[in-house]
């Protein structure tokens, strides 16, 4: 027997085992017959029913018992405890993550999603997501205004969101209900909410609402606005340009012709001093004649040049004179057109009160049209950002040679949009209290075609005796269409701008407004409504003309001023680019005012006519004066060309005279020569 450590027998195979342990825990777990025989041979049953073995065992037996003990230990249970424990550790880890981290991740994800839709910072505080209950809650949510980064577009207080958990596991966010106890908008921010383009203006935003239609009595503004429709300013500018062009063209040519004429004159003067009697020979005379003959082409050329210039200059001058004469007619036509816009004899938009109301309505409704446009923009971004990820094409199955693929049996699936907010309610205060606000939103979806219903929205703000209510629908299925009804009751009115033309400093009162607004698929905006202003209080400026007095009297006497209006625009006026909006308005006081004004209408009309003419003439003065000056310059050029032609005639006459004299001298010389040659000859 080798020296060494004795092999320890496992505790399972103690010297004495109870019958229960041996018969139920040991033997059933030994399946090899020889091992069973070994154990049954080693342990013998005692009188008390237990099993005992010899105390001292050989190493081989002890080693065998150790292996059998390991087999007995392994042959129990169905589950692998180690691996299940590992799984449990992972589950605990997930639970810990869920408790401590996943809320922060969801919060960050939601903030990013809101920033994507509103293009401004979004902050959420105290978010908790309970997936099993399908509930998300937060203490506060604020989204900054993209156009006013130091203000919040809206802010929600303590809110609860009920989600469909099953849809979440399919990657769809379906909000059954969102309720919030506190909703505010336009609240100030401590830090800027801009997330990109920091150069974007954060100060007072430009009112990019409607364009001005007209100001009835501000002639300067009227001419500015109607500049595109007037013909005389363009004609005056054109006349001046043509005169400049003509002057530049002809002065150059006249200068060139005069240069050539001077050269010709020098040569002609040289011939003037020639005495035919001083020429002794025929050759000399012929030489002189040749010189004269050589000047004729130059003379004809210069004459043609001057004649052509004169003719062109004359034609241009006459044309410019005709255009200048026509200016008077154009000015009259323009004055007539402008007066038609300011005619005080009728009602409608041409009346002063409607003209006063129009710009105010433009500002007020413009604000709501902007809100409508922005709501449409945000909803479209939601549809766009939801749609581009939802419909990724299914990966085609790889049916390679080793991959078994059967036939697919289809089952109906309820298609859900990527995001759906079924109902949202937010309120602040309660009805009857000093301040109450309520806001609701329904069926806001990233895929409106799946939702099958338009987005419904509304808001109600009540403060003391004032009420503002908006109800609308936004349908993004197919094209985009937004319609909204706006009601504002008991709102204070305090105007101090745009009243100068009617010599009012201030107009105060209370108004009730009812309007409907519609934004169509092509961006066309239209709508209409009625404003009723009561409890009017007026402050007049010091001076009051006939118009101011009539307006003051009409408004003071009226119980109520009612303005009915309609507006439309082809491109949405709420688009950032801005669009031209046409607004038509009529008031209940138009006729009254017109009647009051009709008494002084003739004088007023004449006065307006004079003012219009003065203003228009003042605008045309500069161009017309410049044009006239240039035309005078053309006249001077014409005179120069006439002088040139006279000079040319004089030179022609001189050349003819000298030629005649030379020819006579030649004849004379020829006769003398013949006499000399024939002297002393007798003819047969």
């Amino acid at each position: 027997m080798a020296l060494g450590r004795k092999i320890k027998v496992p505790r399972l195979f103690a010297v004495c085992l109870s019958a229960r342990v041996f018969e139920t825990r040991v033997l059933p777990r030994i399946t090899i017959p020889s091992d069973r025989s070994f154990l049954e041979g080693l342990y013998s049953r005692q009188a008390d029913g237990s099993y005992a073995r010899p105390e001292g065992l050989e190493d081989a037996a002890a080693r065998r018992l150790r292996e059998l003990a390991r087999a007995v230990g392994q042959n129990k249970g169905v589950v692998r405890v180690g691996k299940v424990s590992l799984l449990a550790v992972l589950a605990v880890g997930l639970l810990v993550f869920n408790l401590f981290f996943h809320d922060r991740l969801v919060e960050a994800g939601l903030e990013r999603a809101l920033q994507g839709v509103f293009s401004a910072r979004a902050e959420i505080d105290g978010l908790r997501l309970r997936l099993l209950r399908g509930r998300l809650s937060f203490h506060r949510l604020a989204v900054a205004d993209q156009e006013q980064p130091m203000r919040n577009l809206f802010e929600l207080g303590r809110s609860t969101v009920d989600l469909q958990t099953g849809a979440l596991l399919r990657g769809r966010v379906i909000v059954r209900n969102l309720s919030s106890r506190d909703v505010r908008w336009g609240t100030p921010r401590a830090v800027s909410g801009a997330i990109e383009d920091p150069a974007a203006p954060a100060a007072e935003k430009r009112d990019r609402g409607f364009s001005l239609s007209l100001a009835a009595v501000d002639f300067r503004a009227l001419l500015e606005e109607q500049a595109g429709n007037l013909r005389s300013p363009a004609a005056a500018a054109d006349l001046k340009a043509r005169a400049q062009q003509s002057s530049a063209q002809w002065s150059g040519r006249i200068d060139a012709a005069e240069q050539n004429l001077r050269t010709l004159a020098d040569q002609a003067e040289a011939l003037r001093s020639l005495e035919p009697g001083s020429l002794r020979t025929a050759a000399e005379v012929q030489q002189a004649l040749a010189r004269i003959q050589g000047l004729y082409p130059t003379l004809r050329s210069v004459k043609q040049q001057v004649t052509d210039s004169r003719q062109g200059l004359l034609a241009d001058s006459q044309e410019l004179a005709r255009a200048r004469a026509a200016m008077a007619g154009l000015v009259e036509a323009d004055i007539g057109y402008l007066r038609s816009l300011t005619d005080l004899s009728g009602g409608g938009l041409r009346s002063l009160l409607s003209a006063m109301a129009a710009p105010q309505l433009e500002k007020y409704l413009g604000r709501y049209a902007q809100y409508a446009g922005r709501a449409l923009e945000y909803a479209q971004r939601l549809v766009f950002s939801g749609g581009d990820k939802a419909k990724s094409p299914k990966r085609a199955k790889r049916a390679g040679s080793l991959r078994r693929v059967g036939r697919e049996v289809s089952f109906p699936v309820r298609e859900l949009p990527r995001f759906l907010l079924q109902e949202m309610n937010a309120s602040f205060g309660a009805r009857g209290e000093a301040y109450f606000a309520r806001f609701f939103l329904q069926n806001l979806s990233s895929d409106p075609s799946l939702t099958g219903a338009p987005v419904g929205f509304g808001a109600e703000l009540a403060q003391e005796d004032r009420l503002l209510r908006v109800d609308g629908r936004l349908d993004l299925r197919g094209g985009k269409r937004l319609s909204a009804d706006l009601e504002a009751l008991g709102q204070p009115l305090d105007l101090s701008e745009g009243l100068e033309a009617v010599t009012l400093r201030r107009l105060k009162g209370r108004y009730d407004l009812r309007a409907e607004l519609s934004l169509g698929g092509g961006g066309a905006l239209s709508g209409g409504g009625r404003v009723a202003v009561r409890e009017l209080s007026l402050e007049a400026t010091g001076e009051r003309g006939a118009i101011g007095a009539a307006v003051y009297d009409a408004l003071s006497a009226a119980q109520e001023l009612i303005v009915d209006f309609r507006f439309e625009a082809e491109a949405s006026a709420a688009d950032p680019a801005g669009g031209k909006l046409r607004i038509t308005a009529a008031t209940n006081l138009d006729e009254l005012l017109a009647a009051r004004l009709r008494q002084n209408l003739t004088e007023l009309n004449a006065q307006q006519g004079r003012q219009l003419r003065e203003e228009l003439t003042r605008r045309l003065e500069a161009d017309l004066a410049a044009g006239d000056s240039l035309r005078d310059g053309l006249g001077a050029l014409l005179a120069r060309s006439d002088g040139g032609l006279q000079d040319i005639a004089g030179h022609e006459k001189l050349l003819a005279q000298k030629r005649a004299e030379l020819e006579a001298r030649l004849k004379q010389l020829g006769g003398s020569l013949l006499k000399e040659l024939t002297e002393g000859l007798t003819l047969p």
Partner: protein, 176 residues
Amino acid sequence: MVRWIATLVVAVNSNRRAGEVAAGIASALLLALIPGGNLLWRVLFLLTFLLKINLAAELLFLALFRLLVPLGDGLLDPLGHFLLTLPPLQGAFTALYNLPLMPLTRFNDTLVMGGLAAGLALWLPAFLGARALVSVYRRRWRDRLAGSRIVQIFRRIPLVSSVAAAAAKLGVGAAG
């Protein structure tokens, strides 16, 4: 692979429960009948790792059955189609398909459904049969083979000697 074979040899020739080996073989049959690459197969496979099933038997027989199962696709496909289009089950299948993650199991594939049905039906018979075979082997052949001349010659084959060496490392003892 050698290690798997050695582990199986050890398990069959030791006191490990015959049921573990049999469960491994039966599970291999079930997994082989269901086409892979879907959530159902992966969950079932993961489950076998958590239970006391002889993984060596499972993996070895899975490889073997996968070679043979395509021959049975002609029967599995119509079986799956029959089950998936059974009118009384349409409501259940539709509800199942609309549950989160269920479409990933691809249970609406005829081979998957046919393989699952056939695998579940054959699991118990396969288990019982394999367990009986292991018990018979242990009772009648194990001890006789351990010392036979044929086995001695067989052990000299290189692959077999590798298996024996690996088995020895795993502590065969009773395998001799």
